[in-house]
Each structure stands twice: as structure tokens, then as C-alpha cells.
């Protein structure tokens, strides 16, 4: 078929087939992208086109719906006082206090989780990207990280219970009067939470490292620098935005997780310290977070106070949205759409790219 170049303004010499005509053979158009008019497509193709629009609009509608509902409900039930009052056990929604403790719990847990996940994640990523020897071990570690990424948080929480309920780790959690170790504490929950963030930090860091051209490393070696110095002084400083966005995504995961909190933190109403030393006792003690507060106050939980649940969920969503904005900021200008949501491992499935 001969390609006849046609300016965008040139009138189509061909009569447009009407939609009902439904040609049996696809009408071949000798036009490039952006020049063919959709009305001349075969019916099936036009249906596909419309479905695409519908799908895109549906996503927008869903997001808008969620945000709108939470705003309307949140604003109608949220009083500033709720943010500053301790919760209290009560049957009535008006008597059950605010959610100061859950907010503190969320912040504390996120801090612990990230404090663990960020350094470990960066270390693992650097080893995987810059050293990776022996190669077989590196591959095993890679698949290990992938498994953590895929492991449901319920399972992680259960595993955490097994670890921290060991008598030898009793100093990290609460102990009953009889000496039984519950294995529930901020420390235990934070440690498991760090696993949620770990794969995100690892993949963001590796992605950053992969984008640094090899000649940058060579330039540093040529100045007589060791690999370690090159990593510390050249590579890591230049991928700081990637690390930051991985960490922020990780914070989002931690803030949003419920299963680990209800299983490993105990979801008690207040932050309940354990043992004498002030700071340490909170870490060893139990508590709740916004997610567990919402869960327990939903119809499925024990509190069943939907208004409180809405208000807390609104605060939670605001936190998530704020983190989201930070991530969008950090990853603007990245070559990839939604960089961070898809780890570098996924490039394995798009190998034709390079």
C-alpha cells in the first residue's frame, strides 16, 4: 500500500463510513498518528476507544469519590478537640474521647519503621547494585527482597509474634505477671513495619544507582578513589532524591498498614508503657495507631463508633495525601510514570527497552 502524505488540514477525499455500515474489512487509513479521524474507524475500534475513555474516567471518578466522601464525612465529624483528647472506653460515640494516642502511635511507629528500613534498605541496595558477588548470593537476596515485598502484612505480623514472644527477647515487649512474653510492643511492630518499607527503599535506591552512568564511577576511580569512597561521596549524594522518595513511599505503607498494628501492637486504647525507664517503656509498651483506631471503631470492631472512625480515617487520609504530594514532588522529571510504584525488578519484564 502506498503511503500518501496528507496534511492535517487536507480534506479527506474518502467518504466517511457511517457507524451502522460496519465494514467487514478494517478500512485502512494511510495516515500517521494524530491525523486519522476516529469517526472513520471500524466500529469495534471505536468501541475500544470509548472503553479506554470510560476506564480513564472511572479511575478519576473513584479517586474523586473516595476523597470527596472522606472530606464530607471527615469535616462533619472532626472537631479539633478530637486530635488532642485521649481516647476513653465508652459505649457512646460522644463519650469515647479523641484520638491523640493513635496519632502519637502512628507517628512513633512510622519513625521506628523508617529508622530501621532506610539504612538497611540502602545498604542492601548498594550491595546488590555495586558489589553483587558472589552472584548467586546476590540473586538469592534479590528474590528474598521480592518475597518480602509480596508477603502479606498479616503473615509478617504473625512471624513477628513468633520472634518477639521468645523469652530471650522479653526485654523488647510486654511481659505478663506470670512471666509470659506477649511479644507485642512498639518495638516489635516497628521492626515488622520496617519490612513493609524495606523493598520500597531498596528498589528506589537501586533505580537511582542504575541511572548513574558508569563513567561517573570511572571518573572517581581514575582519581584514585576506592569503590567505598565512590559510593559514599559520589553515588549516594547524587541519588538522595531517589532514596527520599523510596523512604516516603515506605512511610506511606507503614502509616496505612493495619494488620501488623492489630496483631503486634495490641491495639490498646492508650499508649501503655511497660517497665520503668520512661522513653524505653513506651517502646516496649503497646498502643494503637490511626488505622487500628479506625478498624476498631468500624462496625467490625469492638468500639463501633462510625463517626469517630470517619474522623480518624479523614486524618489518616490527609497524612497519606501529604506524603503522596512529597513523592510526586520528588519523582517529578523522572523518566518513568509513577516511578517508585513499580520497582526496578519490573524492568525485567520490559527488556526490549534497552
Amino acid at each position: 500500500m502506498i503511503h500518501t502524505p496528507m496534511g492535517p488540514a487536507a480534506p479527506s477525499p474518502r467518504p466517511l463510513p457511517s457507524p451502522t455500515a460496519s465494514p467487514s474489512r478494517p478500512a485502512r487509513q494511510s495516515t500517521g498518528h494524530g491525523q486519522d479521524s476516529i469517526s472513520s474507524w471500524p466500529l469495534m475500534d471505536r468501541v475500544g476507544y470509548l472503553l479506554c475513555w470510560a476506564a480513564g474516567l472511572l479511575l478519576c471518578a473513584l479517586a474523586a469519590g473516595i476523597v470527596l466522601v472522606m472530606f464530607v464525612k471527615g469535616i462533619s465529624y472532626l472537631r479539633p478537640g478530637l486530635l488532642l483528647e485521649h481516647p476513653s472506653a465508652s459505649q457512646s460515640q460522644s463519650g469515647s474521647g479523641g484520638f491523640l494516642d493513635p496519632i502519637e502511635g502512628t507517628l512513633l511507629l512510622t519513625a521506628i519503621g523508617i529508622a530501621l528500613a532506610a539504612p538497611i534498605g540502602v545498604a542492601v541496595a548498594v550491595w546488590l547494585s555495586e558489589y553483587r558477588r558472589p552472584a548467586a548470593l546476590a540473586q538469592a537476596v534479590e528474590s528474598g527482597i521480592e518475597m518480602i515485598a509480596g508477603a502479606p502484612s498479616v503473615v509478617l505480623a504473625f512471624f513477628g509474634l513468633l520472634i518477639f514472644a521468645r523469652p530471650s527477647l522479653a526485654f523488647l515487649s510486654q511481659t505478663s505477671a506470670g512471666g509470659a512474653v506477649y511479644g507485642r510492643s512498639f518495638f516489635a511492630a516497628g521492626a515488622m513495619m520496617s519490612l513493609l518499607a524495606l523493598p520500597l527503599v531498596v528498589s528506589a535506591t537501586r533505580e537511582g544507582l542504575a541511572q548513574i552512568p558508569a563513567h561517573m564511577r570511572e571518573a572517581s576511580y581514575a582519581l584514585g578513589k576506592t569503590r567505598a569512597t565512590t559510593i559514599r561521596r559520589v553515588l549516594l549524594p547524587s541519588i538522595r532524591p531517589s532514596i527520599a522518595s523510596g523512604t516516603t513511599l515506605g512511610m506511606g505503607r507503614i502509616i496505612g498498614d493495619t494488620a501488623i498494628v492489630v496483631i503486634l501492637l495490641g491495639a490498646s486504647l492508650h499508649l501503655e508503657g511497660a517497665g520503668g525507664t520512661p522513653g524505653l517503656s513506651t517502646l516496649r509498651g503497646t498502643g494503637s495507631t490511626l488505622t487500628s483506631y479506625v478498624f476498631e471503631n468500624s462496625p467490625a470492631g469492638e468500639g463501633n463508633a462510625p463517626e469517630k472512625a470517619y474522623a480518624a480515617a479523614f486524618v489518616l487520609l490527609m497524612m497519606v495525601l501529604a506524603l503522596n504530594m512529597v513523592v510526586t514532588r520528588l519523582s517529578s522529571g523522572k523518566p518513568r510514570w509513577l516511578a517508585g510504584l513499580t520497582g526496578p525488578m519490573l524492568w525485567r519484564w520490559m527488556p526490549w527497552r534497552d
Partner: protein
């Protein structure tokens, strides 16, 4: 023979130390994963063993009643009750996940095509934060909206009195169930599929699509026949990851699945959509407060082990998906 001065040797070892330290951290993470696999299984083993291993997965009786019996088992370890036939949980898991993934696949591929090819610039710019937002909303918020808004609405508008009566001898329909659960689950897993698919589609070399367009093939067909086909491994990988995520979702399903375990009966026709579901992960959450009962905790660990193995198997499956690419001579 290499000759180093004393300090030069030390310098080498400093370099080596950095590598060893980083390697040690990585190995520790790996060891942790292995330990997780092993210990969860060890803890779960009595539950499988007492049910005749494979029979654990079989149908037979009401799971809630069986679990109640386990919770109430006598304190003497010799008389622990373990009887469980977990089929209803497995079946519900498969159904909710399957529906969510299939619907999600359609929605995500269509919207990815839209984003890559058809969306006007302004829409494109809106859609990135939209998908990011959907990916970031915590599952408990999805669950809350589901149980407080969607479930009552379905109960009022979609389930007729007659439909409720028709199954009232086995189950109460209140709106919570398969339909809500799998739809919300779909919304939760769509973002990751969209993200992967969009990146895969836009990574298809321009020359390939231009080659197709130069033959006079319209944009839709070019997209469908060339880009989507090329990106198929990535799309499948996305679906596999999404499946893993769906299998592990507990909180949202515990909220909107209806509060009892019930094997959805497809023979009920459309009514089946409204029957309650409780997948494995949600069951674990539901009974979290009884963990101090030893046989129950072992039973729950068995469920956790099944979930863990399925997600791990999915990773392997995703691995094998990329194999066909080798025939293009592509280095992976």
C-alpha cells in the same frame, strides 16, 4: 607475586570491610526471610498433621464451628482439637481474588492504553496523581467506606426481599459479600497494574508502532496489536503481583466480606454475588484475639503459611513469564 606495603594492605582491607559489611546486612535480610518461611511452617505443622495433611484443604462442614471447637479445646495438649476443613476459606480466596484480578486486568489495560495513547495532555497530568492516590489509600479506609456506604446501599437497592428469602435457610444476605469485596479489591490492585502497564506500553520502541502506523493501521489497532502484544509479559507480571497483593489483603475483606465464613455457591446464580465471603487472610484477622489458645494459633499459622506459599509461588510464576522473551534474543 604482589608486593604491598603494610598500609597499602590495610587500605585494601578497609575497602573489603565495606563490602563485607554491606554483604552481611544483605545476607541477614535473606536469612530473615528463610527463617520466616521455616518457623511459620514449623509452627503450623500440627494443624496440617492432625488433619491428615491434604485433607486440611478439603471441604467438609462449617469452618466457623470448627474454629469455635478449636478455641474451646481442653487445656491439656493431649486433647487439643484441631479438626478443620479449610476449603470454604480457600474457595472464597480464589473467588474474590480471581474476580478482582480479571476485572482489574481489563480496567488497567484499558486505562493504560488511554493514558499512553488517547488521553489529552491535561487528563494525562491528572491521572498520575489519581493512580498514585488510589495506590496509597490505606486498606482500612477502603474497608470503612465499603462497610459504611457501599454495603448498605447494595443491601437496599440491589438485593430484593425475594432474593434474601430464597437463601435464608442457609445464609443471611445483608449486602456485605462477594460483590463488594471483589469490586473494592479490584480498585485496590488496579493501580499497580496500571503503573506497570503504562510503563511497559510507553517503553515499546517508537519505531515499532510507527512501522505499524506507516502501514495505515489506526491508532487503536496499533496499540492493541503491537504495543499491548509486546508488553504482554509486563502486563502479566503486573497481574501476578496484583494477585499476590489481593491474596494477602485481610483488613478490607474482614470489614466488607460479611462476618461469617461461607463457601459461595455459584449455583445460586446472581444471588451468589451477595453471599458473604471470608478469605484466608481475613479469617486470620478475625480470630486474632484468640491467639493465646495454642491449637487455634497453630491453625491460624497454617492459614498464614498457605498464604505465604501462594504469594511465593506467584513470584516464581512471574519469573517464568519472562522466559518467552528469550526467543527474541533479549538479554534479561
Amino acid at each position: 607475586m604482589l608486593r604491598h606495603s603494610r598500609w597499602q594492605r590495610l587500605n585494601l582491607s578497609a575497602e573489603r570491610r565495606a563490602e563485607l559489611a554491606l554483604g552481611a546486612v544483605s545476607v541477614a535480610v535473606l536469612a530473615f526471610v528463610v527463617a520466616m518461611l521455616v518457623t511459620v511452617f514449623v509452627k503450623a505443622w500440627p494443624s496440617f498433621a492432625h488433619n491428615g495433611y491434604i485433607k486440611w484443604f478439603f471441604p467438609g462442614g462449617d469452618v466457623d464451628q470448627q474454629i469455635k471447637a478449636i478455641v474451646n479445646s481442653p487445656p491439656d495438649p493431649a486433647h487439643y482439637v484441631y479438626h478443620l476443613r479449610a476449603w470454604p476459606l480457600l474457595w472464597d480466596t480464589a473467588l474474590t481474588t480471581g474476580i478482582a484480578v480479571v476485572l482489574g486486568l481489563v480496567l488497567s489495560v484499558l486505562s493504560a492504553i488511554f493514558i499512553v495513547e488517547f488521553a489529552p495532555q491535561s487528563m494525562k497530568r491528572i491521572l498520575e496523581p489519581v493512580v498514585r492516590l488510589l495506590a496509597a489509600v490505606p486498606s482500612v479506609i477502603f474497608g470503612l467506606i465499603g462497610i459504611l456506604l457501599v454495603v448498605p446501599w447494595i443491601n437496599q437497592h440491589l438485593i430484593s426481599q425475594g432474593r434474601k428469602l430464597s437463601v435464608s435457610y442457609v445464609v443471611q444476605l445483608n449486602g456485605a459479600g462477594l460483590l463488594v469485596a471483589s469490586l473494592i479489591l479490584m480498585v485496590m490492585i488496579v493501580p499497580i497494574m496500571v503503573a506497570i502497564t503504562v510503563n511497559a506500553l510507553s517503553a515499546v520502541p517508537n519505531s515499532w508502532t510507527e512501522g505499524s502506523a506507516a502501514l495505515g493501521v489506526n491508532r487503536w489497532r496499533t496499540m492493541w496489536r503491537v504495543s499491548v502484544r509486546t508488553a504482554r509479559p509486563a502486563i502479566i507480571a503486573g497481574a501476578v503481583l496484583a494477585t499476590a497483593r489481593a491474596l494477602g489483603e485481610a483488613i478490607m475483606l474482614a470489614l466488607v466480606g460479611g462476618s461469617r465464613s461461607f463457601p459461595v455457591n455459584l449455583l445460586d446464580g446472581r444471588t451468589a454475588l451477595f453471599e458473604p465471603v471470608r478469605p484466608l487472610a481475613a479469617t486470620i484477622i478475625t480470630y486474632k484475639d484468640n491467639l493465646s489458645v495454642v491449637p487455634l494459633s497453630q491453625t491460624l499459622y497454617a492459614m498464614a503459611a498457605v498464604v505465604l506459599v501462594s504469594t511465593a509461588a506467584l513470584s516464581l510464576a512471574a519469573w517464568s513469564v519472562k522466559q518467552p522473551l528469550k526467543r527474541y534474543g533479549i538479554r534479561t
